[in-house]
Every structure is written in C-alpha cells, then in structure tokens.
Amino acid sequence: MTPIVLTVAWVAFLLGMAWYIAVLDGLWSAAREGRPPRAPLANPLYRCATMLRQQSNLTEAPDLLNWRLAPALYAGLAGTGVALVPFSGASVLADLEVGIVWWGAVEALTVVVVFLHGWSANSQLGLIGAYRYVAIGLPVMLISMFVLIAAALPAESLAVPKIIESQRELWNVIRQPLGLPLFLLLGLSLSFRGPFNYADSADIAGGTAAEVSGAPRLVWEFARLAMLTAVATVAASVFLGGYLGPWLPGPVWLVLKTAAVLLALVGLSHQLARISPSRMMTLIWTVLLPLSFVHLVWAGVLAL
C-alpha cells in the first residue's frame, strides 16, 4: 500500500471504529434496559451535530490554552496508538522499532492530558475527576507494561509487527492467557469507561468534562472513542495475531479482530459496577499487579 492509501485507510478505520463503538453502546444499553434501541445507527451522528451546534463554555479564570489543547492531544495520542499497528505484513504507518515503548508513552501522556483537562476548568468537580484519574491511571499503566513485555519475550523485539509475526504458530491469547484480560482493563481505564470511569463519572457531574460544552466536548468524546479503538487495535495485534489469519486478506482480519475486542470492551464497561477510587487503587496494586507478575513469569518460562 502506498502511504496515501494507507493514510486514508487509517483515517477511515479510526472514524469507523469510533462510530461502531457508539452504535454498540446504544444497542447494548437498550438490550440491558429491555427496550428497543432508538435509531441505533444514526444516533451518534445526531449527537455530534448537537454538540457542534452548541456554544463552547468558559469558566471564570480557566487555563484556556491547556483546556483546549487537552482534547486535541488526547485524540492525537490515540491516533499514534493506532498508527503503530500494521494492516498487513508490509503496510504500517509508523514502523517503530520500539513500538510498545511508545505505547507506554501514550499511556503516560494520556494521564497527563486527562489531568490537564480536569485541572484547567478551575472547578472543584473537574479537579476531583482529574486527581482520581491519576490515582488509577498510574498503577494501571504498570500492568499494561508488564503484559506487553511478556508479549515481547517470544518475539525478541519491541516492535509491534515482529510481535505479530511471532504469533504465526500460536496466538498470544492462548500462549499467555492472562494477558488479554489484563490489557482490556487498561483499555477501560484509558478511555474511562464503566468500572474504570474515575475521570468523567456522573457522581461528579461529568468530572473533567463537567464544565465543557460544544465542540471541545465533541473532540473530547471522540478522543475517548478513538483511544478505546487504539487499545482494541493494539490488543488485537499483540494478543490475537493482528492481520494473521486464513482465507481472508490481512486488513479484514485486523478489522474483524478489533471489532470483536471492542465488543468485549463495551460489554465489560456496561457489566461491572464501579468501586470507590481508594479501593480500586488497592485492588490494582495488591491483586492485579501481582497477577501481571505471575503472567510475566509464566510467559518467561514458556518462552525459554
């Protein structure tokens, strides 16, 4: 694929997956509430139009530069996450030798960006959301790093394409069974959904987005979907073999696997209750992180 075709494919992928998540969300909640869904395919577009038509809000003395930059940077980070992943053997936008290290940087910078979004509005509810997010976002990052390092062991490389190639015989999801579930939890945390929605939950009136309206909110909500897409794409590549698969062409496999991972993510986010941030922090450090240690040892012993 030429770079231009690749770029177009990449943009279409990002937008399409964001729309797909929004549709899934609508369908899933309608099913859970036991009522027919309302215009499931078009609803996301209607909502976009509503936000675009709204006035953009200000608060009394906001840090305006950071307030407007935060959603844009968040979307940009999600975009680079997707760009790490090859659509097929030869077509990848950013063939980074240290791909999973960059993914670690994306996670770290996401914490910064979400914090800025909550901080900049100069409002107490936004601040609470921002600080809660940092408490959860930091330790969750460690889990994902361990999980990705475990996936890098058999590949002997930090590049995403090499990790995919190392799964020709056996997908990592079978070889390292704990990896995918732990990584999915990270996905919920990075886009603050369901049980990991500590930044924008309704008990703090929308948290970091509590004072945001109009186009900045549209960018923010899109970035959340894009980040979830990025997580699912990386998960599909690192654990489900990415573009590898029989009969169908590689890009189709990648899209199918990403869609499947997204289905699992949306399901999880609707299915689990949220515990208080303090208890979640304890849970991550004392249960999930040791679990990722076990996972790493398991992967290490298998790789020898």
């Binding site: 003395a61 840090d63 950071n66 980074l96 030798e97 240290v98 290290v101 960059w102 670690g104 940087a105 996670e107 770290a108 910078l109 914490v111 910064v112 914090f115 800025l116 901080w119 100069n122 600080y131 940092v134 930091l138 990052m141 930090l158």
Partner: protein
C-alpha cells in the same frame, strides 16, 4: 539541511525555550508540564541520534515523573495556579550571571575542542546491545540500581506517610508504655508545667 537537521533544530528550540519558560510561568502545573515538554524534546533528539529506546523511554519516564511533580507542586505551593502572579526568587542577578557564565564557558570549551568522529552504525541493534550489556558486563551496576530503587521506595514511604510502626509521624517519637495503654516509659519531656519537678 535534511529532514533530520530540521527536526533537530525544532526539537532543540522546544527543549531550550520550554526549559527557560519553566522559571517564568506562574502556574505550577504549567511549569511542570513545560519541563516535561523540554524532556520530551530531548528524548526525540535522542531518537534522531539513533537511540530509539532511550529516547522514547525518556518520554514515558518523564511524563509520569512530571505528572507526579505537578501533583506535589500543587500540593505544597501557595497560589498553585498562579492567579496572583509572583516572582519567588532570591539572588536573582547572581543566578542569571552564573547560568550565563556556565553556558558561555561550556560553549567555549565545546567550540575549541576537537571531537573524534565515530558515529554509531545506522543499522546497529542498539536495544539488543543495551540488553546484552545489562545482563553481561554491567550486571553489577544493574543489580545495584535495583537495590537502590528498593531502598528509595522504602525511604520515600517512611518519610512521606504519617502512620508508621512507631505511631504517627507528627506526634514525634514516644517510647512504648510499660503496660498496655499506659503512660510512655522513660523520662517525660519537659513542658512549661514541668518546672515543678525541680522543686521537690
């Protein structure tokens, strides 16, 4: 000038300018993240210098470190958002002079020195080299670093948390009582009313 040169100059400008702005901005959050920007720019220069792992790792390390920096800055600095602009400096002239002097001296030194040229091969597997080094000759350094970091963890927890094994940090050291729930053993610290003891 090729793409690498242009990128280098852009990153260098970002690194220096944001490093300088750190000490000019009023908002503590902005100061932390400007420093982060400076680090990220340096990290990207490292990538240009054929050290991709070090460069990108600098980005994620510094992102979290500066995030924590921002948390502590906001926690302990009065007026953390800089709503009332304030210059909190001392010996300002001297500091500027020292900074400029060091920069000038170093630059002079750099310009007059002739460095040998032995660039790293573009196709060298630098990450593998680093890994081999960590597990080979520099094993001791690596192990020492591990233990040092553990010591750091323990030390920072001891220093920062309030509740320790020997009671709360802000109550000071008190010897244990002789019976459960009793008075602390040993000599009582003298207080204002403690002068009475001297008279009997």
């Amino acid at each position: 000038m090729n793409v690498t040169d242009i990128a280098f100059w852009i990153f260098a400008a970002i690194a220096v300018v944001s490093g300088w702005r750190v000490f000019c901005t009023d908002s503590m959050v902005r100061a932390s993240f400007l420093l982060m920007l400076s680090f990220i720019a340096v990290g990207l220069i490292m990538v240009l210098l054929n050290a991709p792992y070090l460069g990108i790792a600098t980005v994620f390390m510094m992102a979290v470190e500066m995030m924590v920096m921002a948390l502590f800055m906001v926690m302990y600095m009065m007026n953390p958002a800089g709503l009332n602009p304030m210059m909190m400096v001392h010996q300002h002239r001297f500091s500027i002079a020292a900074g400029v002097f060091v920069f000038a001296a170093l630059t002079g030194l750099i310009v007059v020195t002739r460095f040998s040229s032995n660039p790293v091969a573009p196709d060298a597997e630098v990450v593998v080299g680093l890994g081999k080094e960590l597990l080979g000759d520099s094993m001791l350094i690596f192990e020492t670093a591990g233990v040092t970091l553990l010591a750091t963890m323990v030390a920072s927890v001891i220093l920062s948390s309030r509740s320790g094994r020997f009671g709360e940090a802000d109550t000071g050291a008190v010897p244990p009582p002789l019976e459960p729930g009793g008075e602390p053993a040993g000599r009582q610290p003298e207080q204002a009313s403690g002068h009475a003891h001297h008279h009997h």
